[in-house]
Amino acid sequence: MEDASHDDSWKTWFQLYGPKLLLCARQWTRSVADAEDVVQEAFVRFWRHQRELPGEPMALLITSVRRAACDLARRETRRVAREEWADGGIEDPAPVFQTSLEADDRREAVEAAMRRLPEEQREVLVLKIWAELTFEQIAGELEISPNTAASRYRYALAALRKELTAADCHG
């Protein structure tokens, strides 16, 4: 650590970006623990080597998170073959959003509906809503066209609305 101000500086950054990065990491990992490992690795890499780079810090951090998640997935694939590791992947039941007493049922309904979204729609939704990336940035990150990103986003919102409306009717 260089000095106290440096220490405060990265902590401020981490408090600001950490929750969003964790949410994004959870789209590309199998468990919360893996997502936390990925966020740690990506943040340290960003802070050491990339924070002076021009451009949007969040976009750089997301790139770093995705790369770390891909690296982890590659390693895990090899390990799974040896250890026959089986788990629920994205079905990890740990809450994704902060709980609040008055709207907890609604949060659970949103989380459940999000889990049922196709993966490619869910990742675009997360990158747009919580990482606050533009469609151009999302397109660059996921190697798709901006139009595709925008379409997936609209499909995701429409599917969520349908699920939540059905849940309201039954609940």
Binding site: L23, E36, F97, Q98
Partner: protein, 167 residues
Amino acid sequence: MDNELSQLEAELKALRPVAPARHVQARIVRELGRGEGAARVTPSARAWWRWAAVLPAAAAVLILLVFFVRRVPPASVGENIAATTAPATGAMVREAESAPVFKPVSAENVLYAVADEGLVTLDDGTAARRERLSYVDTITWKNPRTNASVRWTMPREEVRVVPVKFQ
């Protein structure tokens, strides 16, 4: 987008993602406090011969670029007089402006191989798995005034020692 979707969008934006557990921050403190040559990320001694080949080449490219960028066309006599009679601060500003300024514009790390080196025993007797990861790092620097750019590509190896728990 219709009004109902906009409402849903606003509702989603109001949801706050869960923060990483406190131990993640503690681990980052340890990682950032650790030097580049720390136990978790250790450049392999075997990579040094590659560094030895890459570093002089990169240095040579940089020196050539600096040499070409600093070559200013010869000024006329009148300009020379103006330059010598100009206030010192003006001359300093021009000197600063003409100095090559290379700024990093992108950094990329590509993982191209992972080798599992099996179980090892640490000094404290605990078992750990050792993995060797091979990367190619590419850093691009650019001088915004001249558009000159330098790309520096170097191989890097990381050795990770991950404690193993037997249940």
